[in-house]
C-alpha cells in the first residue's frame, strides 16, 4: 500500500505546485489593457472578407471608412473623408479625404488607396482580387467606377441612384485597408491587418487571443487604453464564469439568465442597446389560411410580444411594432401603433374569416445568427395562437438546413417561419424581402410571397432619394401599408448587451452593434 500512498502524495504535490503561482499570473494583465470576452474566434480581420458581427467588433477599432456612424446613432458623419458632395441625379459621389492620414505601416491614405480598396472588391481582374472572396461586395454593386481625381479627391459613379450607399460605406465592408500591406501579404492579410484606426494590430494567437495596441500616430484623439485583448470564449456559461472570476473585463452577448445575475452585483455594470434588428414570422400570403389578410392580422394580434420580450427573453429584446427598428432613429415612426396583444379582436377576425380552428405549420430554427431563443419563442407563439383557436404544429431544423428550407419559399413547407435580420440601413430588409421583385424565384428573400405594387414603388423611390428626410417619409409610408397588410408577424427587436467590470470607464454599446473602444479606459 505504500506505493499507493506514495503516488497519491506525488499527485497532491503536483496539484499544489500547479495552483501556487496562479495569483501572480492573473495579476500580470496591466491596468491599461482591456480584456474582451468575444463569442468566437474571428474568421478574418480583412474587412472586405469578414461577415460576422464578432469580427466587426475588432475591425472597427483597427480601420476607418470614408464615413462612419455618429456615435449613438446610425447616421453617417465624416471619417477618412472630411466632406463630400452628391450630384443632383444621385449618381456621382465626390469625397475629399482628410489630410495627413497614414496607415499603420506608414503608407499614406490617398485617393489611390481608396480606389485600390473598391477595385479589389469589385473588379475580378484586379491584381489583389485573389485575396478574396469578398462575400459582401454586393453592398457596393451599384458602383460603376471609382476614380482618383487628385491625391485627396475620390469620385464614385453609380449605375443607378442608390441612397443606402453612404450607410454602406460606414459598414465594415467599406473600411479602408492599406494597399501596401495587402499587396505584400496577399491572402495572409486577413491575419495581419493594417488600417488607419486608433488601434493597430499586434498579434493573433490562433484560438487564444487577438491583441491590438494604441496607435501613437493616430490623426484623431489617441486611444486611452494601451492595448485590448480579444479572447474567443464560445460557451456563454464559460464566458459568464470568466467575467465572475475576473478573467475578462468586458463580456459581450450575455445570455438572459446570466444578465439578471450580473445586475445584482455592484462590481459589474450592465450595458444594453437596442439595435437595427427585427425578429419576425414570415407568413405564407400565397396559400393556406394565411392568404387571408384578416387571419394574418389575427396572428399578429394573438402574439403576446410584451411577454416574449420581457419574460421569455428577460428584457434582452423589445416588442416590435413594424419593420423599421427604433435604432434607425431618423426613419423610425414613433406614431406607429402596430398590433397590441388583443386575443379578443384576433378571435373576432378569425371568425369573420372563417378560419376558426385552422391548422398551421410553424417552421422553427434551432439557433442561428440573431435568432435569439428560437425554440422557446416558437413554443410561446404556438401557445398564444392556440389561445385564439389556431392549431399550430412546429417543425424544427438546424440553422443551415433551416435557411436552405425557408429561403426558396414557404410553399409546400409551412405557413409560418421564424426569421431575423440585422441591417445597417432601413432600405435593406424590405428591399430584399418584401418586394415583388424579391420573390424567391427572382433571387430574393420574399419567402412569404408578399406583393403590393404600392410598396414596391415606395421602396424604389426611397432608394433613389438622397434627401434623408424625404427618404424617411417614404419608408414610413411603406411601413404603414406593410404593417396593415401583415405579411409578417412583427415580434421583437434584439437588445444587444454587455457586462463590464466597474473599473471600465467610457464604455457604451452602439446601435450599429459595433464595439468602439478608443474612448474606453480602465482602472
Amino acid at each position: 500500500m505504500a506505493t499507493i500512498r506514495g503516488t497519491l502524495a506525488a499527485l497532491a504535490g503536483a496539484i499544489i505546485l500547479a495552483l501556487a503561482p496562479l495569483h501572480e499570473a492573473t495579476a500580470q494583465v496591466p491596468d491599461d489593457v482591456l480584456v474582451v470576452g468575444q463569442i468566437a474566434e474571428p474568421a478574418s480581420l480583412d474587412p472586405a472578407v469578414a461577415t460576422a458581427t464578432n469580427d466587426f467588433r475588432i475591425l472597427i477599432n483597427l480601420y476607418e471608412g470614408l464615413v462612419r456612424y455618429r456615435p449613438g446613432t446610425l447616421e453617417v458623419e465624416p471619417a477618412l473623408a472630411e466632406s463630400w458632395t452628391i450630384s443632383d441625379d444621385g449618381l456621382v459621389y465626390t469625397f475629399t479625404l482628410r489630410e495627413g492620414v497614414t496607415f499603420h505601416d506608414g503608407s499614406p491614405l490617398d485617393a489611390a488607396a481608396v480606389t485600390f480598396n473598391f477595385d479589389r472588391m469589385l473588379d475580378p481582374a484586379h491584381p489583389a482580387a485573389a485575396t478574396g472572396p469578398f462575400p459582401l461586395s454586393f453592398f457596393f454593386s451599384a458602383v460603376k467606377t471609382v476614380e482618383a481625381v487628385d491625391a485627396r479627391t475620390v469620385r464614385f459613379t453609380l449605375n443607378e441612384p442608390f441612397a443606402p450607399f453612404l450607410s454602406n460605406l460606414a459598414y465594415p465592408t467599406g473600411l479602408i485597408v492599406s494597399p501596401t500591406a495587402v499587396t505584400e501579404r496577399g491572402k495572409e492579410f486577413g491575419r495581419n491587418p493594417v488600417g488607419t484606426g486608433p488601434f493597430r494590430f499586434k498579434e493573433w494567437q490562433g484560438n487564444r487571443q487577438v491583441t491590438i495596441e494604441r496607435n501613437p500616430d493616430y490623426w484623431g484623439e489617441e486611444a486611452k487604453l494601451q492595448a485590448v485583448v480579444f479572447r474567443p470564449i464560445t460557451d456563454p456559461n464559460t464566458r459568464a464564469a470568466e467575467m465572475l472570476s475576473g478573467g475578462i473585463d468586458v463580456m459581450v452577448e450575455v445570455p438572459p439568465d446570466a444578465l439578471a445575475q450580473f445586475q445584482g452585483f455592484e462590481s459589474f455594470a450592465v450595458h444594453e442597446q437596442a439595435g437595427p434588428h427585427l425578429w419576425f414570422l414570415i407568413l405564407n400570403t400565397r396559400s393556406g389560411p394565411l392568404a387571408d389578410k384578416r387571419v394574418r392580422q389575427a396572428v399578429n394580434l394573438a402574439i403576446d410580444k410584451e411577454a416574449i420580450a420581457n419574460e421569455l427573453l428577460q428584457g434582452t429584446a423589445v416588442p416590435a411594432k413594424g419593420i423599421i427598428a427604433p435604432a434607425f432613429e431618423w426613419a423610425h415612426d414613433p406614431a406607429l401603433l402596430g398590433y397590441p396583444h388583443d386575443p379578443e379582436r384576433a378571435r373576432a377576425l378569425l371568425k369573420e374569416a372563417g378560419a376558426d380552428g385552422a391548422e398551421l405549420t410553424l417552421l422553427v430554427a434551432e439557433g442561428g445568427s440573431g435568432m435569439l431563443d428560437p425554440v422557446a419563442m416558437g413554443t410561446a407563439i404556438q401557445a398564444d395562437l392556440a389561445e385564439v383557436g389556431l392549431n399550430v404544429s412546429i417543425e424544427t431544423y438546424e440553422w443551415n438546413t433551416y435557411l436552405a428550407t425557408v429561403n426558396p419559399g414557404l410553399e409546400g413547407k409551412g405557413d409560418m417561419a421564424e426569421m431575423a435580420w440585422m441591417t445597417n440601413d432601413p432600405d435593406t430588409l424590405p428591399y430584399l424581402t418584401l418586394r415583388t421583385e424579391a420573390l424567391p424565384d427572382k433571387g430574393g428573400f420574399n419567402s412569404g410571397y408578399y406583393s403590393n405594387p404600392e410598396v414596391d414603388r415606395l421602396l424604389e423611390d426611397a432608394r433613389r432619394t438622397t434627401d434623408p428626410a424625404r427618404r424617411a417619409e417614404l419608408y414610413r409610408q411603406a411601413e404603414r401599408i406593410i404593417v396593415d397588410d401583415a405579411p409578417w408577424a412583427f415580434v421583437a427587436h434584439w437588445r444587444q448587451n454587455a457586462v463590464t467590470t466597474d473599473a471600465v470607464k467610457g464604455f457604451s454599446l452602439q446601435p450599429s452593434f459595433f464595439l468602439l473602444l478608443a474612448g474606453v479606459s480602465k482602472g
Binding site: A25, V29, P135, T401, L432
Partner: protein
C-alpha cells in the same frame, strides 16, 4: 514485431480513405452549404452561387473529392472556407492542444482507474471497495460538460485558485506551470468517466488474477503482499486492461469536443463542431483524419504493449 507494426500502419491507409469518403458524402448530403453559412442573412441564390463559384464549390462532387484527394497525397489539405486559411495550418495549430489535453486525461484516468481498481480488488467487499464502486458509478453517470461547469464554479469562480478557461494566461504565461494550471480542470473532467471504466475493469481483472495458482504460489513462497499485488498480479491483469485503455483513448478524444467547448481549450474538438455548422467540408475532413489516425495509432500502441507484456500472444 516490426512486420506486425508495419502491417497495421499500412492498414491505416484504406481506413482513412474510406473514412474520408464517408465524411465527404455525409457533409455533401446534409442541407446547406458554406456560402449560405458565410452570407447568413444575405444568402440570396445569386450571392450563394457567386460565392460558391469563388470557393470552387460549384464543381461536381466527385470532381471536388478527387481534387481534394490528389492534394492530400501531395500534403495539401485544402483551404478552409470558414476560416480563410489552409486547413493544415489550422489543424496543426490545434492538434497539439488536443493531444496535450487528451494525453493528460488518459494518463490521469489510467493512474486513477488502476489505483482505484487495485484497491477495490484487494479489499473486495471492504469499505474501500464500496466507496470506489460508488465513486465509479457517479463518475460514469455524470455528463462531462456539466461536471466541467461545476468544477469551474467551485475552483475558479468561488475559490479562485484555477483559471476558468483557455490554455495559457493572457500575459506572462506560456511556461509549463502555466499550462499545467490551465490543464487541471479540463483534464480532470475528461478523465473522470474513463477512470471509472478503467477502475471497473481493473477490479475484475485483478480479482480473477488474484485467484490463480501462480499468485497462490507466490504467496506460498513468502513474497511480500505488496510485491504479489503490484508485480505479479498487476502485470497479468494489465494484459486485459491495456486494450481497454486504448479504447478509452477514443472516448477521451471524442469527449474532448464537449470539454474543449466548456473550457475554451483551443483544440480540434471545438474546431470540428464549428466546421460542421459552417459546412466547412475540408476542415471537417482534415480534423476527422487527424483524430482518426491518432485513434488508430493509440490503439496500435496499446496492442503492441499488450503483446510485449503477454507471453501468450506470439510476437
Amino acid at each position: 514485431m516490426a512486420a506486425y507494426i508495419a502491417g497495421r500502419l499500412i492498414a491505416l491507409v484504406p481506413v482513412l480513405f474510406g473514412l474520408s469518403l464517408i465524411v465527404f458524402t455525409i457533409m455533401a448530403l446534409i442541407p446547406g452549404d458554406p456560402a449560405t453559412a458565410i452570407l447568413g442573412s444575405y444568402a440570396t441564390p445569386e450571392n450563394v452561387e457567386r460565392l460558391n463559384r469563388e470557393l470552387g464549390l460549384d464543381r461536381s462532387l466527385p470532381v471536388q473529392y478527387a481534387t481534394w484527394l490528389g492534394n492530400v497525397v501531395a500534403g495539401d489539405l485544402g483551404q478552409s472556407t470558414s476560416l480563410n486559411r489552409p486547413v493544415l495550418d489550422e489543424v496543426m495549430e490545434r492538434f497539439p492542444a488536443t493531444l496535450i489535453l487528451a494525453g493528460a486525461a488518459l494518463v490521469l484516468a489510467s493512474v486513477l482507474g488502476l489505483l482505484a481498481g487495485i484497491v477495490s480488488a484487494v479489499r473486495q467487499y471492504g469499505l474501500a471497495d464500496k466507496l470506489v464502486t460508488l465513486a465509479v458509478l457517479v463518475g460514469i453517470s455524470m455528463p462531462s460538460f456539466w461536471l466541467g461547469l461545476l468544477l469551474i464554479l467551485a475552483f475558479s469562480v468561488r475559490l479562485k485558485v484555477l483559471p476558468v478557461s483557455g490554455m495559457y494566461a493572457i500575459y506572462g504565461g506560456g511556461d509549463a506551470a502555466d499550462l499545467l494550471r490551465h490543464l487541471v480542470l479540463p483534464a480532470t473532467t475528461l478523465a473522470i468517466v474513463a477512470a471509472g471504466i478503467i477502475a471497473r475493469l481493473t477490479r475484475s481483472a485483478m480479482l480473477e488474477v488474484l485467484r490463480q495458482d501462480f499468485i497462490r504460489t507466490a504467496r506460498a513462497k513468502g513474497l511480500p503482499e505488496r510485491r504479489v499485488v503490484f508485480v505479479h498480479a498487476l502485470r497479468a491483469a494489465l494484459v486485459t486492461v491495456i486494450p481497454v485503455i486504448g479504447v478509452q483513448a477514443g472516448f477521451v478524444l471524442g469527449g474532448a469536443v464537449y470539454i474543449e467547448t466548456v473550457f475554451q481549450w483551443p483544440g480540434i474538438g471545438r474546431m470540428l463542431v464549428d466546421a460542421i455548422s459552417t459546412r466547412d467540408i475540408l476542415l471537417v475532413q482534415g480534423g476527422v483524419l487527424v483524430v482518426a489516425a491518432s485513434y488508430v495509432l493509440l490503439n496500435l500502441v496499446a496492442d503492441v504493449l499488450q503483446r510485449l507484456m503477454d507471453p501468450r500472444i506470439g510476437a
